[in-house]
């Protein structure tokens, strides 16, 4: 089974090809059967591989599966290799599992939408690229996956391409990602220049031989790491490149759930974790990672406080959660980062899908100010949403609690972390709790604020949508139990499971021997939970007890409120100071000067030269065959003369 890892990415690809070619003719049922079936099979295959995996000695990994030579040019050879180790297995399981559920959900959600087959084609294609990314055993393959998921996200954001805002959002996502990928590509070149190979194993080998680059002597590794980070920031929507993610909510909700919450945006995190060897050798880069993560976590949370679009709130929460992951990575707690990635995949997917269910129930309404009191109308959605909320705010026992707490604890104790970062993280947690409960309460509690017309058409979503919700709810509850910290008498399986992967970097960073002081950890936990509860309380007070309070506050703190509401005017700033100048450059310099004058000039000049030559040569074509014959014979004579007098 382990040899047939190639099956995992191949199945969705097959599905995508089949659907893309023939889906148009097929009936909806067939399309969904194929689209979901392929992913289901993939999930099954993943499970099989995982089973096989657990049979074997953890020490025998990573294992590299070589398939064929993809590129072979001189000494530059890129084989298609899959890198099978604990990390990739975990990712594969998450991606396929969550992906499968979301596919199921989509059957119901997209049923009335146009371009049904198109949707599933893109989705399958995305699965293929994502799995390729996760399994990649060398940099170029990973890059392919990386760009592929970018492409799919672009296609899916712009799925309703008739809406200008949708296509605009798609373009935005694509362009912003380009900025990140630019750094990524540079990193690729630099890597090859440094290590002469793109194969993970060899690169890690090479890094292992190099000394750690401390703060006062920064070297190539730091450069590479920072460039990689640039890519990760783009993909995982960190400050300052987060701007595309909120707009990405233009896409269908399942897409937001799958791509812009659970999997793709986590690619950056995965990538950093995958290159932990590199980062751990470059503390500067790690510090940057941590800082960025922390800032993002807090910053996005603040924006989330005042947003009114249900999906946008979730989007900002996603950004901030990703911030947490980066924070974890940054302080060298890679395992914790991945842990949060997993749990986040569960509950954020859940939240998005539940939100989708809400929107579905309200026939497309997304503004939470027009909702309220849905608790009775759509109980299944409500309960699942509640689970998700509890998970994300880190209510004890829920998955989010364990993972987030792990990160914060590591931040607190790790030599690479710091109290400041820790404090900001905890505070952001409080904010998270506030805006999440705000969302929950405004949506499901209180008295309904939507029009009666809508009222009687509100309905619970079909089974095919609610079932996945329940499954995810279960996961977001229990998902965290794989990593119960020792402080709570748990074993923290996940950490031990991932230990062999990150062993090297632990050695290098000396985070292996961080002492677990249960009492202290418990105190911190309590603090976090307390803040979460405080957030809940605030939300409860403002939106149920004194509904007017919110507006009053908005009036009194008008300036900051506007600032938050307009997301710190970041988009406008970008527009003014980056987009405009670039436009000017492209238009005035590159187009009207370089392109028209230089390039076109050169081409036309060549054309004129050719014509002149033609005018001259034309005289030889007299049209008189005898003359041609004469020339031919003359040539023959020349040859013979050479034969006689030169080659004697």
């Amino acid at each position: 089974m382990l040899e047939s890892v190639w099956l995992i990415p191949l199945l969705p690809l097959a599905g995508a090809i089949a659907l893309g070619l023939f889906g148009r003719q097929w009936r909806q049922r067939v399309v969904s059967a194929l689209g979901v079936g392929s992913v289901g099979l993939t999930f099954a295959a993943a499970l099989g591989v995982a089973y096989e995996f657990f049979q074997q000695d953890p020490g025998s990994f990573p294992r590299v599966q070589r398939y064929f030579h993809w590129i072979a040019a001189g000494d530059f050879a890129v084989p298609l290799t899959f890198y099978v180790d604990q990390l990739s297995i975990l990712m594969v399981l998450v991606v396929t599992g969550v992906g499968f559920l979301i596919h199921l959900y989509s059957i119901g959600y997209m049923a009335q939408e146009g371009g049904y087959y198109r949707f599933f084609t893109y989705l399958n294609l995305f699965m293929f690229f994502m799995l390729l990314l996760v399994l990649a055993g060398n940099y170029l393959v990973l890059f392919v996956g990386w760009e592929g998921v970018g492409l799919c996200s672009y296609l899916l954001i712009g799925f309703y391409f008739l809406r200008d805002s949708a296509s605009a959002a798609g373009k935005k996502a694509f362009l912003v990602n380009r900025i990140g990928d630019f750094g990524f590509t540079l990193a690729l070149l630099l890597l090859f220049a440094t290590f002469g190979t793109l194969d993970f194993a060899q690169i890690f080998q090479g890094v292992g031989d190099r000394p750690t680059e401390t703060f006062n002597q920064v070297g190539v590794l730091t450069g590479i790491s920072l460039l990689l980070l640039c890519g990760a920031v783009g993909k995982s929507a960190q400050v300052p490149l987060y701007v595309w993610l909120p707009d990405a909510m233009e896409g269908p909700t399942p897409v937001s759930a799958l791509i812009h919450a659970a999997t793709m945006v986590a690619a950056g995190v995965y990538m950093v974790a995958r290159f932990h060897v590199l980062f751990s050798a470059a503390p500067v880069a790690l510090a940057v990672v941590a800082t960025i993560g922390c800032i993002t976590a807090f910053y996005a949370a603040t924006i989330g406080l005042v947003q009114t679009d249900i999906k946008r709130v979730l989007a900002y929460s996603t950004v901030s959660q990703l911030g947490y992951m980066f924070l974890g990575l940054g302080v060298g707690a890679f395992a914790a980062g991945i842990f949060h990635l997993v749990t986040h995949a569960f509950f954020k997917a859940l939240l998005f899908l539940a939100a989708g269910s809400v929107i579905h129930a309200l026939h497309g309404a997304q503004d939470i100010r027009t909702m309220g009191g849905l608790r009775k109308k759509i109980p299944a959605t409500y309960w699942t949403f509640l689970f998700g909320t509890l998970a994300i705010v880190g209510f004890p026992g829920f998955s989010g609690f364990f993972s987030k707490d792990e990160i914060l604890w590591q931040t607190f104790v790790s030599p690479y972390g710091s109290k400041v970062l820790w404090f900001i993280g905890v505070f952001a947690g409080g904010l998270t709790s506030f805006y999440m409960f705000r969302l929950l309460l405004l949506t499901f509690h209180g008295d309904s604020r939507y029009t009666p017309v809508v009222a009687e058409r509100v309905h619970e979503s079909p089974r095919v949508m609610t079932r996945p919700l329940m499954a995810l709810a279960l996961l977001s509850l229990a998902g965290g139990w794989i990593g119960i910290p020792a402080a709570l008498g748990g074993k923290n399986y996940l950490e031990h499971f991932l230990a062999p992967v990150f062993a090297t970097s632990r050695m290098r960073m000396g985070t292996a021997g961080v002492p677990h002081t249960p009492t202290e950890e418990l105190e911190l936990m309590a603090l976090a939970v307390g803040l979460a509860l405080a957030g809940f309380g605030a939300a409860y007070w403002m939106y149920l007890r004194r509904p007017t309070l919110a507006n009053e506050l908005a009036q009194t703190f008008h300036g900051p409120y506007q600032l938050l509401l307009n997301k710190y005017y970041v988009d406008e700033l970008y527009q003014k100071y980056i987009v405009r100048p670039l436009d000017w450059l492209a238009d005035r310099i590159l187009w009207q000067a370089v392109d028209v004058e230089v390039i076109d000039g050169a081409v036309n000049g060549l054309g004129f030269q050719a014509r002149a030559a033609g005018d001259w040569l034309r005289r030889w074509q007299s049209g008189n065959t005898r003359s041609y014959a004469a020339w031919v014979v003359l040539g023959a004579l020349l040859l013979v003369t050479v034969l006689v007098w030169v080659m004697r």
């Binding site: 034309r618 074509q621 049209g623 008189n624 065959t625 005898r626 014959a629 014979v633 023959a636």
Partner: protein, 100 residues
């Protein structure tokens, strides 16, 4: 006994005469025949060399040349008939539509 080189020289002379006809005649048919003459000259050289090296492949080659010449004659004459039908003349200098 005749030296083999005589045969070769003969073939050379025939070829040259073919070239002359090829250049100086104006009737397409005659030019065509000059070409055939050249082919024959080459064939003679082939046979002579095949005798010289005692290799039959030379003669085989002549055989192929003859076959190809047959095909060429068939098509060529068809073309000539067509030309004559459309131009009522076989003077190659009158067939100069290739001039721009």
């Amino acid at each position: 006994m005749v030296p083999i080189s005589y045969y070769l020289v003969l073939s050379g002379v025939l070829f040259g005469l073919g070239v002359v006809g090829f250049l100086l005649r104006r009737s397409i048919i005659t030019i065509f025949m000059s070409i055939e003459l050249m082919l024959n000259a080459v064939n003679l050289a082939f046979v002579a060399f095949s005798y010289l090296h005692e290799k039959l492949s030379g003669q085989i080659f002549v055989f192929f040349v003859i076959v190809v010449a047959a095909a060429e004659a068939a098509v060529g004459l068809a073309i000539i008939i067509l030309v004559f039908r459309n131009r009522a003349s076989l003077n190659i200098e009158r067939i100069n539509l290739m001039k721009l």
